[in-house]
Amino acid sequence: MTGYRIPFGGRIDRSRPLTFTFDGQSYEGYAGDTLASALVAAGVTVFGRSFKYHRPRGLVATGVEEPNALISLDRGADRVTPNLRAPQISLYEGLVAKSQNRWPSLKHDVAVLNDVFGAFFPAGFYNKTFMWPRSAWEKLYEPVIRNLAGLGESPVARDPDHYDATYAHCEVLVVGGGIAGMEAALEAAAKGGRVFLIDEQDELGGGALADTTLWATVDDLRARLAAADNVTVLTRTTAFGYYHQNFIGASERLTDHVAPFAAKGAREKLWRIRAGEVVLAQGAIERPLVFNGNDVPGVMLSNAARTLALRYGVAVGRRVVVMAAHDSGWRDALALHALGIDIAAIIDMRTVVPGDLADEVRAAGIPIYPGHAVTAVSGRLAVKGVTFAAYGTGKPHKLACDAVLMAGGWTPSVHLWSHAKGSLEWSDAWGAYLPAKAIENCRVVGACAGAWDLGKGEISSALPNAMSVRKQKAFVDFQNDVKARDIHLAVQEGFRSIEHIKRYTTNGMATDQGKTSNLNALQIASNVLGKPVTDIGLTTFRPPYTPQTFGSLMGHHKDALFQPLRKTVIDDWAVAQGAVFENVSQWRRARYFPKAGEGMDAAVGRECQAVRSSVGIFDASTLGKIEVVGPDAAEFLNRMYTNPWKSLQPGRCRYGLLLREDGFIMDDGVSARIAEDRFHLTTTTGGAPRVLSMMEDYLQTEWADLDVWLTSTTEHWAVIALQGPRARDVIAPLVEGIDLSPKAFPHMAVREGTIAGVPTRLFRVSFTGELGFEINVPASEGQKVWDAIFASGKQYGITPYGTEAMHVLRAEKGYIIVGQDTDGTMTPYDMGLDWAVGKKKADFVGKRSLARPDIVAKGRKQFVGLLTEDPYEVLEEGAQIVVHPDEPVPMTMIGHVTSSYRSTTLGRSIALAVLVDGHARMGETVHIPMPEGVIRAKVTGPVFYDSEGSRLND
């Protein structure tokens, strides 16, 4: 192919030349060119290397269906986008483009050996060859395959661009801005509703842009659309997915068509559009012909050559052969001839060719060969000539040429139609599936409805060459390098359904989803199987229509906006204190408060010591809180929790354990009875929403007769945990209206009064094993009260502590954390919480399940403590536990470590674990195999500190 710029015509702006580079070489084009048209005009033939065989490949198409010319567009550091289709890249000054899948260069590619040894790469090659030995996969096969195969390289750095997103609603949404689409939009607009018209090209017009006789019509339609104020036209916008109830996802490319320095604002905009009616006007895609040599650069779709010539003023070659099975190829030949391009011959596979067109072609002096077909193409990096012959035993002729055009007929674009699960019906006239019945409120117009006169054709399913299919380089799927012989092979090996043939050969599974190959594969399979096309099934198109950037799908949902970050009212204070934070579900919590030069271990040790010896202060505001109110509140909680609640007196607290109906622990927390008909529930930090949802579920759908109201109060209360032997002394000067003496205000009691002048629900509870209070105050007063307590605690060395110290302190006491020490398969008995189960209660959620055979069986994992033999060894959380360290791999694992810490209080490490029959293993030695060696540990009870609980009741 020796393309050149035709000295006149096209929709390019010849007054605006543009310079760009391709693989480092500089070229010139014009405004209005695409990368593809400018490169063809410059005589470039090879656009890339093929996926599997690394064969040199040229441009095939001028639209979205292009399978070969995949380009990495380089817009500066970290702005390289791979796998873009050259005919869809608008040219701009300074554009930098690179070909893909070649090494070291496009012209000299070492992996072309794949092609020489192509006989060894048949369908299913990967499945068959790299099966054994398994060990070789990771080290040998995968790295080698990854080096040789694959399309463009994905960027490794963070995407510096930002992406916009919006919602829209309209009465009618039209996809496709060709004549049919524009007419449909105008028709809808006349009825007065909101209309959207979406088209993926730079300008409206679709296929008509390649037909100068239709330009006046296009201009007129565009002007009328511009004048209609209820029509929104989105060009450079791809409607990539059609979802339920006429919900369309579309991506608008805002800046990729302008030079990087001129690009302002968001790169892309994601449109989510809900339409009353969707009109699909996506047109049709021309079908390649499958013959030996059909992938030599310079063999391309006939309509692509026409588009290059009429829209971009580019001739694909100086001497062109047209191979046709459809009238449209003849029309294209005449159009090119009129521009002075030499048409060497029209070789038509049909014996009967259209009479009127034949007359015109003969009058133009173009030789015609009906009933003939190309049997070979010469040339490696560009077409040099063709061999062709009459069907069957015909004598081969040779013809020199530099381009071969394929006119194989048309395939209506039913992609979005298929996304919306519209049904398809086979049309013999089109040799393709056409839209039949819609599920959504959707209709199809123009060529994609089959309602457009593109001429007549014949679909041929046999190769036009009598030579054995195994010897022919007749490609069906250019992008995935699938040949006709691969489909033959798949059928020989027993595959019958097109879905299986597709997966075995990978036909249609590349980034283009088989836009040019699916129907040809179907025809060949039908021919080899000797069954009608309609009997072997149909593969389905799925979103996205074209590959989309992750950036556009993410939109603004990144960094701080990825998900909400919840902060307590004490957060600012913690930041000022230099706290190190961790995220717990959506909450940001202070993990520890290091002093200058202090690491985590030292800080946590100091914080724990302060709590055990004097007093520590902890922000517990993230605890989930639910207010349960109503005459039946106690009855409701009695049914929900394992514990008895009716007997709980106002002013008292209780540890509540919540199971799912299957008997496994779901959540826990200390709750208080504030009044006869009012409870203040607490849940775990992450569990609040699901606990509330579960309670609402039972209340609304099972026990609607109960008079109870549930209100989430998590964010209404700031909760300050004050823990340690000095806790009472710290708050005593601040509290009014509450007798703090141990007798009047015992452990697990709640009182209402004021603290620092602020109304409080004061809980005497402990998650550390020390004397402790949890001071609930309205969130708006939280910082004020915190400051007052902190000032009052100065004389006792009050120490703020974070979640890490909280974890250590509770682990020393063997208090569980649901979700850390339990995993959704643990019962109260497994966790040693039998005491929290009200055995006399007739029913509660999960009670019946506690008698399930599997739950009463032996061999369940049970909650225990572990003490390593080496007191300085800290086990890894999640580490597996075995009995016999010498057992060969895979070893019998009897449990795992759930919590593990360095305990300053105890001067050694401690761990919690779940262990098969753990309660019966007290005193046994178990083994924890780690990469560095086996660790020995002794099984103990889970309470390591103050097992009598005397400090609590101080």
Binding site: Y243, E661, A704, R852
Partner: protein
């Protein structure tokens, strides 16, 4: 994204406002302790796993927060009808046949 009609709000709202609640019309036994293991297993775990019209619970979590029931076609993912908790399952055999015959609905 599907639009779901909340029978309490009487509005079509986007799917993200709702949460799924499993198969509908499975009442918790009034006295679970009276059930043998097999009966309890059936209540806990056995579901119809319908191909086609499926009665299921939904909750308008980010709206009125009410639970309600829906008949959804598990093949097409279409909501045929939604109705309030406590109401009987509507008989849709006639209406769905009509809808299918019409092609669009």
């Amino acid at each position: 994204m599907i639009l779901i009609h909340c029978p309490y709000c009487e509005e079509d709202r986007p799917e993200v406002e709702f949460t799924y609640g499993g198969e509908a019309h499975i009442a918790r036994p009034l006295d679970p302790s009276a059930l043998d293991d097999r009966e309890w297993e059936t209540f806990l775990f056995v579901r119809t796993n319908e191909r086609g019209l499926h009665a299921e619970r939904w909750r308008h979590l980010h709206g009125c927060a009410r639970f309600f029931n829906a008949i959804r076609d598990t093949v097409t993912d279409r909501f045929e009808v939604t109705y309030k908790t406590g109401e009987p399952r509507p008989d849709l055999t006639a209406t769905t046949k009509a809808a299918k015959a019409g092609g669009k609905a």
